[in-house]
Every structure is written in C-alpha cells, then in structure tokens.
Symmetry: C2
Subunit: 214 residues, 2 copies
C-alpha cells in the first residue's frame, strides 16, 4: 500500500488570502485543494492561478459537483485541476458525465460521500471506473461536536474493500491517524490545522503517524 499523501484544503473566501496560505504550506503538502468556499469566492480564476504557481502539485478542485457535470468538469480541468470532487448525491448520469471529461484530461473524479449514499451507489461508481472517494465528518457536524465513530470506520473499510481509495477529512489531527490503519487511504486532508502558525510541525507529526501505521 502506498503511503497516504497530505492535502491542504484552501477554504479562504478570497484568492489573495488563499495564496498566502498556499505559500506557507506548499513545501510540505503533496496536494493543494481549491476548497468549495474558495472556488465560489474567487471562481475558476483560483484554480488557474494555483496551477500556474504550483505546476508540480496535484491540484484538486472541490466543486462537490451535483449537476451540470460535463460543463463544470470542463471548467475545472481546463483551469488546471487534476482531480474534481463530485457529490454522492448527484445523479449517476452526472457522475458519468464528469468521469468522461476527467478521462479526456487524464484527470480523476473523487466522490464526496454526503447524504444517504448506499453501497449499491458505490458499486455503480466503481463500475464507471471511479477509483477515489472522500470520507468526512461534515464541517458543521464537527462544529456540532460529532466525532469519528465506529460506524465511520466500518463503512470506510467496506468502501476500501470495494477498491475505492479514500481521502479522509474533517478536523484531522495527528492523534486520529491510527484509527484509519489498514484503510486504502489516498490522502489525509487538513485545512485549518495546516494553515495555522504551527502548520509545518503539524504536517511533520501527521507524516510520522502515517509512517508508523502504513
């Protein structure tokens, strides 16, 4: 199993602030994500700008695409994204449309696991050739004090067994990493933890824990 990567989610409301954060953390993350908040705040210009500044990072565009798949996917990949997020709640025709565009750009689709998705859905995504999903505590659920539960970990293992590589997010701290050992983990995604003053130390602590359990 390859070592999980580290991903920074840029969720600033404007491009200028996001570029400041990116500058601070680019040296110690593998993946830079234009979060939904930044994507709506600054538009696709945010993706274009980060692609230009960081040509060697994997660039994720977190649109949580729910409809209009082909158009949104073309916008994101044209702007320079490598990976695009698509909502688990999207119609399978939307997901298929995104996958086709991703293939044209040699990019990848990541399914965002929100709402009442089912394992039948997950099998349908795999059938389309989709290899990645994102599992998270909702930011708002986290704020409401809802933690990582046994139920989460069971579902993650089942998705992993279906062949989906998972990116895991939602207030991830180094002390959480051991919980996910044995799960096909593509990346751990952090936003505020890496954007803070101690971002570099947090990244190192995360990498140490990853090396210990993978």
């Amino acid at each position: 199993m390859t070592l999980p990567k580290l991903q920074i989610a840029l969720d600033q409301t404007d491009l200028k602030s996001a570029l400041d954060v990116a500058k601070n953390v680019s040296g110690f993350v593998d993946i830079i994500e234009v979060g939904t908040i930044l994507a709506f705040g600054g538009g696709m210009e945010s993706v274009r700008c980060l692609r230009q500044l960081y040509p060697n990072h994997i660039l994720v565009c977190d649109l949580k695409t729910t409809d209009g798949g082909a158009i949104l996917a073309k916008m994101a990949f044209n702007a320079g994204a490598n990976w695009l997020t698509v909502s688990a709640a999207a119609h399978i025709a939307t997901i298929e449309a995104c996958k086709k565009v991703a293939d044209d750009f040699k990019g990848e689709i990541q399914i965002e696991l929100y709402g009442h998705w089912t394992f039948d859905d997950a099998k349908a995504w795999r059938k389309l050739g989709i290899k990645q999903a994102i599992y998270h505590r909702s930011r708002d659920a986290e704020l409401a004090g809802i933690g990582w539960g046994k139920d989460d970990l069971v579902k993650m293992r089942q998705l992993s067994d279906l062949g989906l590589e998972l990116s895991i997010t939602g207030g991830i701290i180094p002390e959480d990493i051991h919980l996910f050992a044995g799960i096909k983990t593509k990346a751990f995604i952090a936003g505020r933890a890496l954007a803070s003053e101690n971002g570099k130390q947090t990244a190192q602590a995360l990498r140490e824990q990853i090396a210990k359990y993978w």
Copy 2:
C-alpha cells in the same frame, strides 16, 4: 394559492455572457438565479453585479451548499442574494447553519432535492422553519432522456402537503405546466428556454399556462 413566479437560471460560464442574457430577459422574469455554473465561473462577483443591476428582482444564489454552511451562506447573502440553495444531502447541521444566516439577512433557504432524501429529512427541514425546496429532473438525467414521471408528481404533492413550496425545474416547457396543477409552486425555473431568441414568447406561453391552472 399565489401564482407561481418565473425564474431564469443564468448558467453561463462567465459573467459577461450571463449579463447579456439577464439584460434580454429581466423584463419578463420575477427571479434571477446565479446558477452553480456561473457562481463557480465568476465567483461571488456575479451575485454582487446582478444585485446592483437588478435591485428589484428576487436574486437566487444556487450554490447547492453541501458543507461549510455558515461561511457560504454569509458569502451569498452578503453579496446580495435573497435566497440560497442548499443540497438535500447536506448534514442537518449544515442546513441549520444556513438557515440561521438566512434569518439574519431576512433571506430564505431552498433545499435542492438531490440524492436519496427521505420524507423524514423533509420533516426535519420543515422543523427548522424551511419553507422552500427545488424539485428537478437532473440536467444530466434530462440529457439521458429521462422525463417527468408519475413518481415525481406523487412526491411533489407529498412535499407540498408538508408545507414546502416547490420551485420546479429541468427542461420546463409550456406544455409541461398542466402536470403540476394543485402543487404549491413557488416558481418555474427555466434556463435555456428563456435565454433563447424566443425567450419572451416562451415566458408569455408559460404565464398563460400558469394562469390557466392556478
């Protein structure tokens, strides 16, 4: 029952093209929507600009908010939106966060009915005081040739009975209007049909059908 309104969805990929369409149709629609495609293409600047140009229209920001509810809602309402769309797949904590911000701005939340939502979800939305939902054929489902079915109409009536006012969308043409008679319809949303050269005639034909069945 008040007469359903007409809404134009601006789903151009850039603000300039969207402004051209808005200019053509503003005289015969009640509601202008910054569609998800435009919101990602041009960022919140699109909302600010349309608010300034059309101070008397209801302005909808179609973010299909799935997470980070409070921040996205503040961005949308601060930019001048009256209504904000939130995904049915969002965690209830996200929906609640959006509702709180909407209340502060005297705005409204519209739940976008994507994914495996349930009537228990719908009751939970109503409990938060949410009054609107958007029912649609997915654009991609429509492209795949999937029409308005009996199943759609039964669900719409049930949502209507729960007290949710519905905006209905997905390739709406005047000949479809009679299907929705008796449903608490807030608005019919059209994009391409109103943006075309015959937009004004289509709007008139839609209004005639609405007047006939409401």
